[in-house]
């Protein structure tokens, strides 16, 4: 697939493009600043855009804002955000949409998982880092519907939010797939969400709920 990388650290940028090229992808363009990234993406129109949250000029959340800009221009453009640590403030509005991923940078070292996540995003799915999902599914108030979930249900929900299928979840938690399905029903009931057969739509429903 054709990929554009927005990343200010040359070391990381070169390492990543080399890794991606070696795995059969085409790094069609790179950008060091948020502004130039938007221009490059417009010009190249890649299949996937990988963006570092923290970029020049201000080194705060310029990457996230560039992502928002790009999404505004093309709502289904697949975007994979990377960052050194969890920053949810500016990506949270993109989290519930399809074709979006948000991972910590060190996930890149698990090359296979990383390539999977890229594939899911390009297919319109979701790829969220477990730590980010944990931050999203943690109950913050007594009346938070998340507080009603059991520990196991929360675990399942986190995996759903990461974009895993029922089968993948069952394998990860060493459960029967039917057990995972019954957990899912219970979760949707407690969160008052209509169940959906399609994994992607399911994730989106969950994340939309969590975002509020």
């Amino acid at each position: 697939m054709r990929i554009v990388i927005g990343e200010d650290s040359a070391l990381f940028r070169e390492g990543l493009s080399r890794l991606l090229t070696e795995n059969g992808h085409d790094v069609a363009g790179t950008a060091e600043t948020a502004d130039s990234l938007v221009d490059v993406v417009r010009a190249v129109d890649p299949d996937l855009t990988i963006i570092d949250v923290r970029m020049p000029p201000t080194m705060t959340d310029d990457g996230a804002r560039a992502a928002v800009t790009l999404r505004a221009e093309r709502p289904d453009r697949p975007i994979l955000m990377l960052s050194q640590h969890i920053e949810t403030r500016h990506v949270v509005e993109l989290v519930g949409t399809g074709g979006f991923g948000y991972l910590l940078k060190d996930r890149v070292l698990r090359v296979g998982d990383f390539l999977d996540a890229m594939r899911r995003v390009v297919d319109g799915g979701s790829a969220l880092d477990p730590t980010i999902v944990a931050a999203l599914v943690a109950p913050t108030r007594a009346d938070d519907p998340l507080a009603a979930l059991s520990a196991r249900e929360r675990e399942v929900l986190a995996l759903v939010a990461e974009g895993r299928s029922n089968g993948a979840i069952a394998a990860q938690l060493v459960l029967a797939e039917r057990t995972v399905e019954s957990h899912m029903r219970s979760i949707f009931q407690k969160l008052r969400i209509d169940d959906a057969p399609d994994t992607h739509r399911r994730v989106i429903a969950v994340l939309t709920q969590l975002r509020q």
């Binding site: 990381f12 080399r18 959340d61 050194q84 920053e87 109950p139």
Partner: protein, 643 residues
């Protein structure tokens, strides 16, 4: 133009001339009266004249100087007329002695002229209005009428010294004239007295104080006059009764008036007068006590015992008596000073009792000394204080601690302010020390806050460096290792080894992230609310967290974040709580966080609480713990934050 000094000078010259004439009458061929008459009467009048001169010198614009001189001059003139008339029938009669003698029968009515003028002018000139101008004409007219009525009355010719009266009025007319003249005379006197009431009603505080003096003196005149007449009627020697009246009128009244006029400028005279008076009265009362005891005890015991007892009793009574009299006299003679010092003493007492702040000393001094421009300057630590000209320096030992500047300066005010400063030394010193302490504390707080901001900035930089520097490099190295790995075939041992190396690298990155988080939680980049939500997500207890999105300073946010974290840890570790509630918000520019649990309570001040307290204090905030045994623990953090 009104020239009080010239009038006083003219009156003085006239007085001297008239005194000369009387001296000739007394010691010349006519030899009128006793040899003591001239010195006694002149001596009686002299105080009024001298006081008039004193007032004219001290208060040149005041009409009271001439009025006082007039009170001396009029009697001198009256006495001269009387003495002149007395030469009739002697060996050396003066020209016109018979006529003058007849007139002198009622000439005493003119004695009051000076006094009435004084009452009408006191303390600052004639009263406005037509009615009050009319009385200036009525005074001489009524005196002349009385003089005429008395001089032409049959009684004046009863002893036949002056032969037959010049004319005889029919009895009813004579009685009518007598009654009318005296009635008018009294009405004029009463009206003059009533002007004091009018002035008192309209007057301000100094005017009222001055009038108080005059009123007492003025009231004594008609009373004494009536008393002397009554005494004469009852058969007392006329000279004695008349003498008492004269002494009152010519010494006490002018004295009181002079004090009233000059009081505000002659402070030392007040004190002198007060001290003299109080000792005089003390001496008199002591003597009376002594005499009374000697008399009372002497009837029963030998002389020596009586005298010893008397001395003992007197000595015992003397000091408290003197204190009491001194205070009373001081209050009477110099009420302003007494009131001012009493106010300051009262203030000092209230400061000592904690009812007043020592910093109020300036307003108290302004009030007490009646000087709105007064200022208390205090030397600030590390600064030099320039004492302005005319200011009163305040010292503790050898060091200059401040200065008192007056809005209006006069010798008297300076003297009084010096006395006040001595009384107010304690609150002045205390407020100086408190200013010093406050400034030192403020400086310490400010420098601590600066330090904390620096620390916070430093932590932020360190966290960035860890994330963007070391962490990023490690991941880049990891990626290169992966690239190298994929060039190998999966079967070779190096392939497996590289897998392990990359895994170690991942752990190292995670470790670095944890370290960076301890330095400064990077979630604070998303705001305090997000960071706190993240924090409580790790809690094994249910946490109710109420926190809106807040924009607060880095150091305040970090402090609240870490303190709340420690509070949660404490609740988990020690409190055996089942639930924690946290609320964070900003009200009135104070960031306030409350962490409450339902545990066993009774938290004791230990290392945990102290480190939280220190952390909060270093951010310029306050930390309070409420932890009654059995009723949970509530920890409140309040940090000022200017938004």
């Amino acid at each position: 133009m009104f020239r009080p000094r010239r009038l006083v000078a003219a009156a003085t010259i006239l007085f001297v001339a008239v005194a000369g004439v009387r001296a000739v009458l007394a010691y010349g061929p006519a030899s009128i009266g006793d040899t003591a008459d001239w010195p006694v009467s002149t001596g009686l009048l002299l105080p009024s004249l001298l006081l008039g001169c004193l007032v004219a010198a001290r208060a040149p614009a005041s009409p009271i100087g001439p009025a006082l001189a007039l009170t001396a001059l009029m009697p001198a003139l009256v006495f001269t007329v009387e003495d002149w008339g007395s030469t009739y029938g002697t060996d050396a009669p003066w020209p016109g002695a018979r006529v003058v003698g007849v007139i002198s029968g009622g000439v005493w009515a003119w004695l009051f002229l000076g006094f009435v003028a004084l009452v009408l002018l006191f303390p600052d000139g004639p009263l406005p209005g037509r009615r009050w101008r009319l009385i200036w004409a009525a005074v001489p007219v009524s005196a002349a009428l009385v003089n005429f009525a008395v001089a032409t009355d049959l009684a004046n010719f009863a002893d036949g010294r002056f032969g037959d009266p010049p004319f005889r009025l029919p009895d009813p007319l004579r009685r009518g004239l007598n009654f009318g003249a005296f009635a008018l005379f009294f009405v004029v006197l009463l009206t003059a007295a009533s002007s004091l009431v009018v002035r008192y009603r309209r007057g301000d505080r100094p005017t009222r104080l001055r009038l108080g003096w005059l009123t007492v003196a003025a009231l004594s005149v008609p009373i004494l006059l009536a008393t002397s007449w009554l005494g004469i009627v009852l058969g007392a020697p006329a000279d004695v009764m008349y003498g008492g009246f004269l002494i009152t009128m010519f010494i006490l009244v002018p004295g009181a008036i002079t004090v009233a006029i000059l009081r505000h400028d002659l402070f030392d005279v007040d004190r002198l007068l007060g001290t003299t008076l109080s000792w005089l009265v003390t001496t008199l009362i002591s003597a009376a006590v002594f005499a009374a005891v000697v008399f009372a005890v002497g009837n029963f015991f030998p002389d020596r015992v009586g005298i010893t007892t008397a001395a003992f009793v007197t000595a015992l009574a003397l000091l408290p008596l003197h204190h009491w009299i001194h205070r009373t006299v001081a209050r009477l003679v110099d009420p302003d000073r007494t009131v001012a010092l009493a106010r300051i003493r009262d203030f000092v007492r209230r400061v000592r009792d904690g009812q007043a702040e020592p910093e109020q000393i300036e307003s108290v001094l302004r009030d007490a000394l009646d000087d709105p421009g007064l200022r208390v300057l205090l030397r600030r630590p590390g600064e030099q204080l320039d004492v302005p000209d005319g200011a009163i320096p305040l010292r503790t030992g050898d060091s200059l601690v401040g200065a008192l500047t007056l809005g209006t300066t006069s010798a008297r005010r300076l003297r009084r302010a010096r006395e006040a400063v001595v009384e107010a030394r304690l609150p002045i010193e205390v407020s100086r020390l408190r200013v010093e302490l406050r400034e030192a504390l403020a400086e310490v707080r400010a420098s601590r806050a600066r330090l904390m901001e620096d620390v916070a900035a430093e932590r932020q930089r360190l966290e960035r460096d860890l994330h963007d520097g070391a962490q990023q490099r490690l991941i880049a190295i990891g990626m290169r290792l992966r690239s190298v790995q994929y060039q190998l075939s999966p079967g070779v041992p190096a392939y497996r080894e590289l897998d392990e190396v990359v895994e170690t690298l991942e752990h190292t990155v995670a470790e670095l992230r944890r370290i960076a988080h301890g330095v400064r939680p990077s979630r604070l980049d998303d705001g305090l609310a997000v960071a706190l939500r993240d924090l409580v997500a790790d809690s094994t207890l249910p946490v109710d967290l109420v926190v809106p999105e807040l924009e607060v300073a880095e150091s305040a946010a970090t402090t609240v974040y870490f303190t709340v974290g420690e509070a949660i840890a404490n609740a988990l570790k020690h409190a055996r709580a089942t639930r924690i509630s946290i609320s964070v918000g900003v009200t009135d520019q104070v960031l306030r966080a409350v962490v409450r649990d339902d545990g066993v309570g009774g938290a004791r001040e230990g290392f945990g609480l102290r480190s939280m307290r220190d952390r909060v204090a270093s951010a310029g905030g306050e930390f309070t713990v409420d932890s009654p045994p059995g009723a949970g623990t509530s920890i409140t953090v309040e940090i000022p934050c200017a938004s």
